[in-house]
């Protein structure tokens, strides 16, 4: 660390921060960006409203339109099956919003200033993903409340809390994947389209809306282990109070895997200067 005596005042120029200092400053910056993104989220409630409306839309559509067909003969309460899947889908929708939001952020002028500031550049993405995760929690709680109004019953409060945490977690993992796309593409509408490419297939070929047994055999291995399915299964077990087997482990593995791959990649792509 070197202290430089400059004409205006004496300032400390940190030239070779050690790892501890780097981490402290990065968390401080993340907190600052989070504070900023929370203000922005509060001033744009449309994002939250949109996420909740989408969730409620899926609940109504699947429960009342397809519910009968899917659960026919299976002899179970479809709403108890559906809501956990919708919670996971809602969380992923949030991740998609991170992607589009970040792409928009990157094109905003303020981003140029960020790159000229003595701040951790990863904080721009980290702050945003955390702000979106917090918004996601609010969205999930609201969707769950609508589910309860429709007749859904949580087996236990603790289970509900862990389930929402898990859904938020998988959404958080995907929001870093969204950050990679955003940092690479940087055009909000383009990013929106690209997110559809991973979101739709994963969403439809999953156990979010229908049990794996109802799908063709060749598809079943994929459906069983893909992230939306494992998260839906885990959440489903937790809220219904039934054993979940390896599903929580798989969900956590997906979250860690997404973070380990996406976080460094997104920051590297973001940092790239022309």
């Amino acid at each position: 660390m070197t202290t430089k005596d400059t004409p205006t005042n004496t300032r400390t120029v940190v030239t070779d921060p050690n790892v501890a200092l780097r981490i402290r400053r990065a968390s401080q910056d993340t907190g600052t960006v989070l504070w900023r993104d929370m203000i922005r989220t509060a001033r744009q409630p449309e994002m939250l409203v949109f996420a909740v409306v989408m969730g409620v839309f899926f609940l109504l559509l699947f429960n009342y339109v397809f519910g009968g067909a899917i659960a026919a003969g299976a002899g179970f309460d479809y709403l108890q099956y559906l809501l956990p899947g919708v919670l996971v889908i809602t969380a992923l929708q949030g991740a998609q919003q991170t992607s589009m939001g970040l792409a928009a952020d990157f094109t905003e002028g303020v981003n140029d200033r960020f790159r000229s500031l003595p701040m951790s550049q990863s904080a721009v993405i980290a702050g945003r993903t955390i702000a979106d995760a917090l918004r996601n929690i609010a969205g999930l709680v609201l969707v769950a409340l609508v589910g309860i109004l429709m007749g859904f019953r949580f087996a236990s409060f603790g289970g509900a809390v862990v389930a929402i945490a898990l859904a938020t977690g998988i959404g958080y993992g995907f929001s870093w994947l969204g950050a990679v796309i955003a940092a690479k593409v940087r055009q909000p509408d383009m990013v929106g389209m690209l997110s559809m490419f991973w979101l739709f297939p994963l969403m439809l070929a999953s156990t979010a809306f229908a049990p794996v047994e109802t799908m063709p055999g060749w598809l079943q291995p994929f459906v069983t282990y893909q992230p939306i399915s494992v998260a839906s299964d885990a959440v489903r077990g937790l809220v219904n109070g039934v054993p979940v087997g390896d599903r929580i482990t798989w969900t956590l593995a997906w979250i860690v895997g997404l973070l380990v791959v996406s976080a460094p990649m997104s920051v590297r792509l973001y940092r790239k200067v022309g």
Binding site: V13, T15, R36, R40, R43, V110, P118
Partner: protein, 323 residues
């Protein structure tokens, strides 16, 4: 360990940047001492923004050297960022946040301690008259208000090196003169300033040293007085009747780089270093040579003349090629 900041604060050596086939900056070098204002003067596309963005770590430097406070921009960008404040060409503030929140955001990111930060922000809002709109989101600001906030944002951390890219573009005369005062008082406090502008007057009033750049290269460099001695001569504008008159006139005047011919407008601009007598001589000479003069005017040089005088050869040539 305490070391004095090295003199000069900003050094730039043979800076170079290409975008594909565009050589945006070819060879730019300068030094800025503490308390000095360097004016980057040049037309659209000259390379002003590219130069500033390279020094302020936003753009990768293709070749050459740049340092701020002794820190190499390429190898120690994180140290450089602690010493600079940048007000880029397009306002870089968060549109959804108010002026106060924006300043708070940047103050936090500069790691200014809380109490000092609050005091500093209040002081800046007061000093720059942001009070009227400080509590409204920036998206509701007028162009000039946003620009002002942007400049103020560059000053939150009282950086010893400040980059202002066309800071007065879009400002009304009052805000412009306030900004000029700000630049002067920053310089008086020892801040090294790089300021780009398209206005000769602005460079003249503020800069200790002016760098005229065009197409990425420095075409003139010196104190405003030295440059003006070179450039501040009256211009005799002669309008002739036909294209043939234009050719005859060029012939009579002889080859001189500083004489600008505008073929479209059938006009010749002749720099006159020594006033009215010489103009009369020239006009008589043209008339006796058979040139039909439709109109003439003796006028002060404009920035156009400065640019054209410095880059005139290429402009005339390309015009002749296309006609």
């Amino acid at each position: 360990m305490t070391t004095r900041v090295s003199n000069p604060v900003i050094t730039v050596q043979n800076l170079r940047k290409t975008f594909g086939s565009v050589e945006a900056v070819k060879d730019v070098s300068f030094n800025v001492e503490p308390g000095q204002v360097l004016g980057l003067l040049g037309p659209n596309g000259a390379g002003k923004t590219t130069t500033i963005n390279m020094i302020s770590t936003l753009l990768h430097i293709d070749a050459g050297e740049a340092s701020v406070g002794g820190f190499d921009v390429r190898t120690q960008p994180e140290a450089v960022r602690q010493l600079i404040g940048l007000a880029g060409q397009s306002a870089a503030v968060d549109e959804k946040l108010t002026a106060r929140e924006n300043l708070e955001l940047f103050g936090r990111l500069y790691k200014i301690p809380r109490v000092e930060r609050r005091r500093r922000i209040d002081e800046l809002i007061e000093q720059f008259d942001l009070g009227e709109f400080a509590e409204r989101p920036a998206s509701t600001y007028s162009g000039g208000e946003r620009r002002r906030l942007d400049v103020v944002a560059a000053l939150v951390a009282e950086p010893p090196a400040v980059f202002l890219d066309e800071p007065t573009t879009g400002l009304d005369p009052r805000s412009r003169s306030e900004l000029w005062n700000t630049v002067r008082s920053l310089a008086a406090n020892g801040v090294a300033i790089v300021l780009s502008t398209q206005y000769l007057e602005e460079a003249d009033r503020l800069a200790d040293e002016i760098l005229v750049i065009d197409q990425g290269s420095v075409v003139a460099q010196g104190t405003p007085d030295a440059l003006k001695r070179d450039l501040e001569r009256d211009v005799l504008e002669v309008h002739v009747t036909s294209r043939a008159d234009l050719d005859v006139a060029r012939e009579l005047l002889g080859f001189d780089e500083s004489i600008i011919t505008d073929i479209e407008a059938r006009r010749i601009d002749i720099p006159i270093p020594d006033g009215a007598d010489r103009s009369l001589d020239l006009l008589r000479q043209l008339q006796e040579g058979g040139v039909s003069i439709s109109n003439f005017q003796l006028r002060q040089p404009t920035l156009d003349d400065v640019f054209l005088a410095l880059t005139g050869a290429t402009v005339t040539e390309s015009e002749e090629l296309t006609t």
